[in-house]
């Protein structure tokens, strides 16, 4: 067989011509170097799943027309002695299509098996539900660890950006271990939580930060307590049929995490991964120089009608601060940003005999932030064990302990924080006073003082555990009982010494401890059977009981003897506060599914939940769902007439899910302590009761099409969903005269409609060469359908919730132009009264992307692997608060610096620009040119980012087997290598309001460290 035609496969017409062209160009050079080697008698290879790239364990390899054969081991590896080459291998494995491979050379070969979607007997388990794999009517995306393991990050939820349709992920800051914004198919709620439910090995875990000390709107990501290297798969459950069984917690989607486990009857393997690298900001802020700043301040002075003779920057001899051109420029950005070091080690051992299998893993990662003073380290340990006591009884356990250590400092919305001191201090102001002491201006602290004296640490200890016993009562009837815990402690310590503004006069310290514990007991009865080979029936019935407790102690101390004493016991003034709360959830659930002839299937689930958070009369909520699927490809008219179609499935589902993720005890009219006056302990009516408080409910329907063509080399999935949420749990404003600003009420309705599309293609599949591509794109439209009252979601009223608009809408004065004659900004006068007043504020845009998606490519040539992932977000708007503050046109005086973009301001009649003249006074219409809630600062935040580029090389077996190794791979990986965006700030994904509970605010960028560009070098060793 000639080499070249092989590129395009077994004579199948390749469907995507543009890809084909690229393929030719990319690989021509590679293939011209292909040569044959001398024949040997040992045939070696690896058998992998074509879709996920994971090894296919226990595949059978036989020689066609000859005696002999073998089985693949746990890594999918096999070796086979043959008399002569070429031979034809017959490879088979349960759940996969049989494959014939011609072997011409004795080089190790990689064989990709394709899932056999026609297998009748394969029953898969997702969460609680057992179904026929093909019969699923739900929208579920499975992500394999291979897809994200090379992407840098401290948590899996930031790593899976772009890997599942419908899942919006954005990292709100470049600080490792900081919060990640995750939304699945939009937002269904406002105040009742929008994070998906995360379930790790069956344990629903908390994804709420325990941080209590404010660091300027930034928070930690509690999921960075979990080592991503322990994860085998992440299943993203999207539609009502998949999530209804999670009932009151399913409305925002469910993310199931399965960690690695041992396999019975396999040799013990040791895996060692070591990774080193560095990170650096790709983009910072372009600040106006000292002379430029002085020029603007003088200009504002004149424009305000003040006399030229008293302008601030005039010669010193005239009593001024010196002419603009005499001003110096002091760079504070280079003082705080650095090239950060990153290192990660993971060691795991797994294996098993006929009865027991195990996985033991340990990991350590240390990641410096690009901002000096910040770093993140994590120590992990995991132990998973499964043991069969006898044919009927088995037990097992999953345990993880993670210890995190963080050094923190204040960024974003924190005037005394390091970022504002660095970026917002005027560049013309000296960093030190004449006497060498730290110079501090306006609201800011000194940037060097903040670096030199930072002392803020946080230590997390988290243990997630599960123990189960499973009883196989009958062959197909099992009962599983499990107990799980999620125990999370977080200890924060911060000391401001007397060098710092916030440490005045003699040191200020805070010590806080938070403890959150969740206990879950679960019972699950499962049964399935196949009748007459045509009817498949499965039913399940379960119950969970869950209790969560939270407590926090916060101790403050001030007035220390000297900076050497930093523990609160040395402080002369101390105070403390504590808080505690708890909630309980009792649930019953069940479901059934039926499929006929592998062609038609229907299923139904229901869950009943009772939550302590609601009034007695409304504690119970019921969440049913139904779904159906029709595999058109199994119909004769397809089978006979369109043989290129391997799969054509139409699926649909509808159901209800709930949300109860509000604070504890919100339904009661209650009084709290702490309202003290002087020495008298005081109480106060802290909350108006709402005994009618009930579940927020989301109705969702989903229709989807799953297809696969050309021997499964091309697969396409399309889903449309429509979610409608009613009885929103809303912290809605009430008439101020009641003496309350808001109460939690069931008010309002919201919808999310969207479409998700993904296409996966194996462009080239040859013995030594493989190229696959995946493109996926999602669109979601969020709309507040009903809301009697419009109200703001954050300070300064930037972000507003209003009927007829999406959540995360920006409420601003719309700047139409800058008058070329006067240089004043012209805002839209909505009510046409000639004045610009609050009534002229309007919703100008929102932070939602119109589309998000990714394009990924994986190429494997012999022992080399190359993968690239591009992520894009289109149409999301960002309110650039740095510009709001730093295009102040003189309003904020000398202390507050300017961005270079200020220099584009209007200067003289005839100038055409979008930046009005420097001035601090009110315009005739009542508006202001600068420091105004203007739409001028609202920017298109669309971006396209090369999330990851990885090049790896696996050493040939022949070499490493001498060292008794089974695998040795080296790689280089780059994350965020480049970003294409029109956004003028440092990072379009930043959000200063990340600490807003339930993330009700998005798209506010304000002095946030950008996500860095990161390069890593690593090695994976298996022996």
């Amino acid at each position: 067989m000639a080499k070249l035609p092989l590129i395009f496969g077994n004579g199948n017409p390749f469907p995507c011509y543009s890809l084909r062209k690229i393929g030719v160009i990319l690989l021509f050079a590679v293939f011209t170097t292909l040569t044959s080697f001398a024949q040997q008698i040992e045939v070696k290879g690896t058998i992998l799943d074509e879709g996920s790239r994971s090894s296919v364990i226990g595949a059978t390899i036989k020689l066609k027309g000859q005696q002999g054969g073998t089985m693949a081991d746990v890594k999918g590896d096999f070796s086979l002695k043959v008399q002569k080459l070429p031979v034809t291998l017959l490879v088979s494995a349960i759940g996969y299509k049989n494959q014939e491979i011609d072997v011409y050379e004795a080089e190790p070969t990689t064989i990709y098996l394709h899932e056999d979607q026609n297998r009748l007997n394969e029953v898969v388990v997702t969460g609680y539900v057992q179904t026929k794999k093909n019969a699923k009517s739900s929208a579920i995306t499975e992500i394999k660890s291979e897809q994200f393991k090379n992407i840098s990050g401290t948590s899996f939820n930031e790593q899976i950006q772009g890997l599942a349709t419908g899942l919006l992920v954005s990292s709100t800051s470049g600080t490792p271990g900081s919060s990640v914004f995750v939304r699945l198919r939009g937002t269904t709620s406002v105040n009742a939580g929008n994070d998906p439910l995360y379930v790790i090995d069956g344990v629903p875990i908390s994804s709420k930060t325990l941080q209590t000390i404010s660091i300027g709107g930034q928070t930690t990501n509690p999921l960075s307590d979990i080592n991503p290297a322990d994860i085998e798969t992440v299943d993203v459950l999207k539609d009502a049929n998949a999530t209804a069984v999670y009932g009151s917690r399913g409305a925002n989607g469910v993310i199931l995490i399965t960690t690695k486990r041992g396999v019975n009857n396999t040799k013990t393997k040791v895996n060692l991964d070591v990774e080193y690298g560095f990170a650096k900001a790709a983009k910072l802020w372009d600040l106006a120089t000292g002379p430029e700043t002085a020029q603007i301040l003088n200009e504002a002075w004149i424009n305000d009608g003040k006399p030229n003779a008293t302008r601030p920057y005039r010669p010193v001899s005239e009593g001024g601060l010196g002419n603009p051109e005499d001003q110096k420029t002091y760079d504070r950005q280079s003082l705080i940003f650095r090239t950060a070091a990153v290192k990660t080690y993971n060691l795991s051992i797994n294996g098993g005999d006929s009865k027991t299998s195990f996985f033991i893993g340990g990991g350590y990662t240390s990641q410096e932030a690009i901002v000096k003073t910040q770093d993140f380290a994590r120590y992990n340990f995991r132990f998973n064990l499964d043991h069969k006591i006898n044919k009927q009884l088995s037990i097992g356990t999953s345990n993880s302990i993670g210890y995190t250590s963080r050094s923190l400092s204040r960024t974003a919305n924190s005037p005394k924080g390091i970022l504002q001191a660095s970026v917002h201090s005027a560049t013309l102001l000296p960093i030190y006073n004449a006497d060498g002491s730290y110079a501090k201006y306006g609201i800011f602290d000194n940037v060097v003082a903040l670096i030199d004296n930072n002392n803020h640490h946080a230590y997390g200890l988290r243990s997630i555990n599960n123990v189960y016993a499973k009883w196989n009562i009958l062959e197909n009837l099992s009962f599983k009982s499990s107990v799980s815990t999620d125990l999370n402690n977080y200890h924060e310590k911060r000391y401001f010494n007397s060098q710092l503004s916030d440490g005045q006069p003699n040191g200020v310290a805070t010590d806080a401890t938070s403890i959150e514990q969740t206990w879950v007991a679960e019972q699950l009865l499962n049964y399935f059977t196949t009748i007459n080979d045509k009817h498949f029936v499965s039913v399940f019935l379960g119950n969970t009981t869950q209790k969560r407790t939270y407590q926090n102690e916060n101790i403050n101390g001030s007035s220390f003897p000297s900076d050497q004493f930093q523990t609160i016991s040395s402080a002369s003034i101390t105070s403390a506060t504590t808080s505690a709360s708890s909630s309980g959830l009792l649930s019953y659930f069940g479901g059934a599914n039926y499929s006929f002839d592998n062609k038609y299937s229907v299923d139904a689930n229901i869950r009943a939940d009772a939550s302590s958070r609601f009034g007695k009369a409304n504690q119970w909520g019921y969440f049913p769902s139904v779904g159906a699927a029709w595999r058109i490809s199994e119909e004769k008219f397809i089978k006979n007439n369109a043989r290129f179609i391997n799969e054509l499935k139409l699926k649909g589902s509808i159901g209800l899910t709930g949300n109860q993720d509000i604070g504890d005890f919100q339904s009661t009219n209650s009084w709290s302590g702490g309202a003290n006056y002087g020495d008298a302990a005081g109480i106060s009516n802290s909350q108006l009761g709402n005994p009618n408080l009930k579940w927020e409910t989301t109705r969702q329907w989903n229709v989807g099409l799953e297809t696969s063509f050309l021997h499964d080399r091309l697969s396409v999935e399309l889903n449309y969903y429509n979610k409608y949420t009613y009885d929103l749990l809303l912290d809605a404003p009430v008439a101020g005269k009641t003496g309350f600003a808001s109460t939690i009420q069931n008010i309002g309705e919201m919808s999310n409609k969207g479409i998700e599309f993904d296409i996966h293609s194996t462009n080239i599949r040859k013995r030594n060469f493989e190229w696959t591509s995946t493109f996926e794109i999602s669109h979601n439209t969020n709309l507040v359908e009903k809301l009697p009252i419009s109200f703001s979601q954050y300070s300064r009223d930037w972000v507003r919730l209003q009927q007829g608009y999406a959540m995360y809408s920006f409420w601003l004065y719309k700047q139409l132009s800058v008058d070329p004659k006067t240089g004043n900004a012209v805002y839209q006068d909505v009510n046409k009264d000639g004045k610009i007043t609050t009534d002229d504020r309007q919703i100008v845009g929102n932070a939602w992307p119109k589309f998000t998606g990714s394009f990924s490519n994986t190429i494997r040539y012999k022992d080399f692997d190359l993968s690239a992932l591009v992520y894009f977000s289109v149409g999301n708007q960002v309110f650039n608060m740095n510009r709001f503050f730093q295009e102040h046109g003189g309003v904020r005086g000398t202390n507050w610096g300017l961005l270079e973009s200020q220099m584009r301001r209007w200067q003289k009649p005839g100038d055409i620009t979008d930046i009005p003249r420097a001035s601090t006074v009110q315009n005739p219409d009542g508006s202001y040119n600068n420091d105004f809630q203007s739409s001028r600062f609202l920017e298109d935040g669309s971006f396209l980012r090369l999330r990851n580029l990885t090049l790896g090389y696996t050493l040939p077996k022949a070499i490493i087997s001498k060292a008794k190794l089974t695998k040795f791979r080296v790689y280089a990986s780059a994350t965020n290598l480049f970003t294409l965006t029109k956004y003028s700030g440092a990072d379009p994904e930043g959000n200063t309001a990340a600490d807003q509970s339930n993330g009700t605010v998005q798209g506010l960028d304000f002095a946030i460290p950008p996500q860095p560009r990161q390069i890593l070098f690593g090695v994976n060793i298996t022996f």
């Binding site: 440490g503 009219n669 009084w671 309202a675 009516n685 909350q687 809605a732 003496g739 600003a741």
Partner: protein, 455 residues
């Protein structure tokens, strides 16, 4: 399957089902909060009534009320304190460009109504307690203090926003006051006087500079009568306090704010190191632990620094200017970085100036009496006394004395609007700007509200 097998398995299934059903405990749905108690059990005896009353003073301490913002709105609008920080909604007070979406105006509105609500709840629930649970003397005092706080809150609403709903019942549900419309400023002041008279009848005759007594009620009555131009009553109530020379005295100027609870104070709102005021944080320079959000204006610095105008009141500011940072002035009325600066609500100095103004403006003016009260304040500040001036001069001199005497206490704006001088003195010629806008957000939530003219 054989019948026996089915029986065997049925047994197993039943066993499992039983576990399934019994394994859940409904106790977890009956959790009790650890940190709060229900409304019905909130005020049930003397101890809880006292605690609820302390909780009402706590509302006065709010950062949006006497804790900072309400006081700041007064002194920033009076234009002797200039915004110099980051929060541009404070700039609007300087420029009288506040609109209904102003964050600070919003927070003041809600903070005062929260105080009003707390006072009303104490009044309602304490009134309902039988004598067996709360002795009459205690009940009378507690109610007196609550009526005083209610009066203060209503007075502040009236003078700040003009037309506001008057609420005199404790809130139980969100719809309790649906349909309650705004009253006019005179109607609000009438209610304030009624409440103050009630509180005066209930409160004990005592000296307590941190809480309301008969003296506190009298001092506020003097001020409210001044606002309502009832000069005789204003003079009468001010005289009652000025006469109590053993309890209330004009102490040295820096002394009263360098110390706490001096004889200068009739009512100063207490803060402690564990229950802090953030006022200092907005005033002080970054190097001293503040954010210098606002600073004494050049003009007030000139006045305070003048030995014949400011005198000892020069201590109210510090000049920290350097060559790179010229005209760097910092106010020092709030100077404790430990956060325990009190807020001065009623001082004896004000009673002198109230009486001076009342005497000068009453139908038969008492020029010498007015001058003597004014000179008491001037002497205390060690500036020259005035003599041989006309009535009009005295009235103007009182206005100017108020300016320097209460430079950072937020009186000037309210003084100039009540005397209708804000146009002439501050240049705020649009009289509709003399009251603040009703918050936009509450206009959305409360359909009974009507926006003040011009907003």
């Amino acid at each position: 399957m054989k019948t026996t097998e089915i029986q065997k398995y049925s047994f197993k299934v039943l066993f499992v089902s039983a576990i399934l059903l019994l394994s859940s405990c409904s106790d977890i749905l009956d959790l009790k909060p650890e940190q709060s108690i229900s409304d019905v059990s909130a005020i049930v005896d003397k101890k809880s009534a006292e605690a609820a009353l302390a909780g009402t003073y706590d509302k006065l301490q709010s950062g949006s009320y006497y804790g900072t913002d309400f006081v700041a709105a007064g002194y920033l609008s009076g234009n002797d304190v200039t915004w110099s920080g980051s929060l541009n909604y404070y700039r609007a007070y300087n420029e009288h460009s506040y609109q209904s979406d102003n964050t600070s105006v919003n927070s003041i509105w809600y903070a005062i109504y929260t105080t009003l609500r707390a006072a009303n709840q104490v009044i309602d629930k304490t009134t309902a307690l039988p004598v067996t649970l709360l002795a009459d003397a205690d009940k009378s005092r507690i109610l007196g203090e609550a009526y005083f706080i209610r009066a203060l809150a209503l007075f502040d609403l009236g003078r700040t926003f003009g037309n506001v709903p008057i609420i005199t019942k404790g809130t139980i549900t969100v719809h309790d006051f649906d349909g309650v419309k705004q009253s006019t400023q005179p109607q609000v002041y009438a209610q304030v006087i009624t409440d103050l008279q009630t509180s005066l009848s209930l409160l004990p005759e005592a000296v307590n500079r941190a809480r309301a007594t008969k003296n506190t009620a009298r001092a506020l009555l003097a001020r409210v009568y001044l606002y309502t131009e009832n000069w005789e009553q204003a003079e009468a109530y001010a005289s009652l306090l000025i006469a109590k020379t053993t309890d209330y005295q004009l102490v040295d100027y820096p002394f009263f704010f360098q110390n706490k609870q001096t004889k200068e104070s009739i009512f100063e709102l207490q803060f402690t190191t564990s229950d802090k005021s953030s006022h200092y944080y907005y005033w002080l320079a970054s190097a001293n632990g503040g954010r210098h959000e606002w600073a004494p204006s050049d003009s007030i610095v000139t006045l305070l620094g003048n030995s014949s105008i400011g005198g000892t009141r020069k201590a109210l500011y510090k000049d920290l200017s350097t060559t790179t940072n010229p005209k760097f002035y910092v106010g020092y009325l709030y100077w404790r970085t430990t956060g325990d600066d009190p807020t001065y609500i009623l001082r004896i100095a004000e009673q002198y100036l109230i009486r001076a103004e009342a005497r000068a403006k009453k139908s038969t003016p008492d020029l010498s009496g007015a001058l003597s009260d004014l000179n008491a304040i001037r002497s205390r500040a060690t500036i020259p006394t005035l003599s041989g001036v006309t009535l009009a001069d005295v009235i103007l001199a009182i206005e100017r004395e108020n300016r320097v005497e209460f430079a950072f206490e937020g009186h000037r704006w309210f003084d100039l609007t009540r005397t209708k001088r804000a146009g002439a003195v501050l240049g705020v010629t649009d009289t509709r700007k003399w009251i603040f806008p009703i918050p936009y957000n509450d206009l959305q939530a409360d359909k009974d509200l009507i926006q003040n003219p011009s907003y």
